[in-house]
């Protein structure tokens, strides 16, 4: 007796990077049993090696258009773009982790397993072309991040962050799934390709479909922490161990925006008149709340959390035109945000190894005199987040604004420009505080070789991409040509 497997679309090559990441997680799981407690740094090494292999396996996917497993995942340039971005973020996170974890007495092997699991979920989400794989990717990354946020088991703040993230995340998953159920009911399929085929211009009056898309958007907006679904962000970012915040603030947002692009731009272009307005509203809301509340924050982790909400708004602006140019700007912004925000949080991580209260802005007073290197790179990241040339953040905003002008979308553009000027205040305030005279001597710990290398490399990348943005822009424009 034989079973015919052709037609199922089994193609392991298309998900090879994901498989390698999951495989690395399993290897680390077993190594954790035999590696002595004082040698857990090796696990970070194994993690980085596995991720490098996954990175190498991602490059061949570039330029392909390979749907696999019954149209549930696809290996294309967009997936490859996000694979490279997400793996790079995870490698950098793994490199700055050991010192921070040791300082906080959290040096357990499970950390790397969960980190790899979350990365695999994000990569799956970026490659997902079916409601099922989108759900699976989101849950895989979320469940790993719930545990990672509560990784500091004795710190009540970390536990509180984990609980809030878990409950609000589960709530958002409920909405996401109900939306998926309604979309399935309206179109009769769960793959995005079939949904796109079933969604004609006439579907613009299909209530079931529209409510489904609305609920799905709520779930996705939660993941990218766009207002008004952002309530969890400041608490979770503040309470979670800083190195976890570093990772999730950039990686989750990137992966979720890949799914948003595939859903709105590739699947529902024919009813763009229906989703344009709610999405524009969410973007404007995020810009307002993120930038205005960030001004009042004295805790640098909370400030960066609100700044992250604002940046979610800018990234969403690139989706609004529904064009390849707009999505190119979105992808460039995601890459730029990943670089500069990772850097900013990594500085907080490097300083945070010193204890709990280091995230208070008062601790940063006079940092230029105490830690010239950290203060210098932090200045670069702050300037970039504010969007001041010659940093990558300037071009990120420029390209998004450009795509809005081309599409003649004026109201969100005006809000974005005004809010950018508002944002100068709280980014530059950090620099001013660091330049102020220090009050007194504070106990210092050294940064360490791998952390300072990572920080230096990210700072160089921030400036380099600000001088030569076309490198990433070419990749982004190639990856952004989405269609079904």
């Amino acid at each position: 007796m034989t079973i015919n497997l052709s037609g199922l679309g089994i193609d392991y090559g298309a998900i090879l990077p994901e498989l390698i990441v999951v495989g690395t997680a399993i290897v680390v799981l077993f190594l954790d049993l035999v590696v002595p407690a004082d040698r857990r740094g090796w696990l970070a090494g194994v993690t980085v090696v596995g991720l490098l292999a996954a990175l190498a396996a991602s490059f061949p996917l570039w330029g392909q258009d390979r749907a696999a497993f019954g149209d549930t995942v696809i290996a294309d340039s967009l997936a490859a773009f996000f694979n490279v971005l997400l793996i790079a973020i995870t490698i950098l996170t793994a490199l700055i982790s050991p010192r921070f974890l040791r300082a906080l007495d959290l040096d357990y092997g499970e950390y790397y397993i969960l980190l790899l699991g979350a990365t695999a979920g994000m990569m799956l989400l970026a490659a997902a072309t079916s409601l099922m794989t989108i759900f699976l990717g989101i849950e895989l990354l979320s469940v790993c991040l719930y545990v990672l946020s509560g990784f500091a088991r004795t710190a009540l703040r970390s536990q509180e962050a984990a609980l809030k993230y878990l409950l609000l995340g589960g709530f958002a998953t409920g909405f996401l799934l109900y939306g998926m159920a309604l979309i399935y009911g309206a179109t009769g399929s769960t793959t995005l390709r079939a949904i796109a085929a079933a969604t004609t211009t006439a579907a613009a009056s299909n209530v079931l479909l529209l409510v489904g898309i609305a609920l799905l958007s709520v779930g996705l907006a939660f993941k990218v922490s766009a207002a008004p679904f952002h309530m969890w962000t400041p608490d979770v970012y503040e309470g979670a161990p800083t190195v976890v915040t570093t990772f999730m603030s950039v990686a989750t947002k990137a992966a979720a925006f890949a799914a948003i692009g595939r859903i709105f731009i590739a699947t529902f272009p024919s009813i763009s008149s229906r989703w344009y307005f709610p999405l524009a509203l969410i973007a404007i809301f995020s810009l307002f709340i993120g930038n205005l509340v960030a001004i009042t924050q004295d805790n640098i982790k909370r400030m960066l959390a609100y700044s992250g909400i604002a940046h979610a708004g800018y990234i969403l602006l690139g989706i609004l035109p529904g064009t390849t140019q707009g999505f190119t700007a979105t992808l460039f912004y995601i890459a730029a945000y990943a670089v500069m925000n990772f850097g900013a949080f990594a500085v907080v991580t490097a300083i945070g190894a010193g204890g709990e209260q280091t995230a208070d802005l008062s601790y940063w007073r006079g940092l230029f005199y105490r830690r010239p290197f950290l203060a210098t790179v932090m200045t670069i990241f702050m300037l970039s987040l504010a969007g001041i040339p010659p940093t990558v953040g300037f071009f990120a905003k420029l390209f998004v604004f450009q795509s809005l002008v081309t599409a003649q979308i004026w109201a969100p553009l005006v809000v974005a420009v005004i809010m950018t000027i508002v944002s100068f205040y709280y980014y530059l305030r950090v620099i001013v505080v660091m330049l102020a005279q220090p009050d007194g001597a504070v106990a210092e710990n050294r940064v360490g070789f791998s952390t300072s290398t990572v920080l230096g490399a990210v700072a160089v990348a921030t400036v380099f991409l600000g001088l030569f943005p076309s490198v990433v822009l070419d990749w982004a424009s190639h990856a952004a040509s989405l269609h079904f």
């Binding site: 099922m132 469940v143 719930y146 509180e160 409920g174 399935y184 309470g239």
Partner: protein
């Protein structure tokens, strides 16, 4: 016995709404978590209804996927709730307010 599909969808919508309301008004994290499960069950009912109505298997497969993933989420969720209780002996979500703006 033919039953119109919308009755099941109405039931599913009602259960989902109850879960969402429960999520917002209840204080005990365990009960709040149960309300999330209620919402997911409403989703499963909707998927099963659609699947039967459309005569396609995708919806039922999706419902099983939801059940499996929800089980994984419960494992992690209960562990976190127990850990919060151990760390702070606090069983009221309104009093978890170490971090305020």
């Amino acid at each position: 016995m033919p039953v119109p599909a919308y009755t099941f969808l109405l039931l599913s919508g009602a259960v989902f709404t109850l879960g969402a309301i429960g999520f917002m008004v209840r204080r005990n994290p365990l009960v709040v978590f149960m309300c999330i499960e209620l919402m997911l069950n409403a989703v499963n009912l909707a998927f099963a209804t659609m699947s039967r109505y459309l005569n396609s298997l995708d919806g039922v497969v999706f419902a099983f996927l939801v059940i499996t993933v929800a089980a994984a989420e419960v494992v992690v969720g209960i562990a976190i709730i127990v850990q919060v209780y151990r760390a702070g002996r606090q069983m009221d979500v309104d009093e978890l307010d170490l971090m305020k703006e």
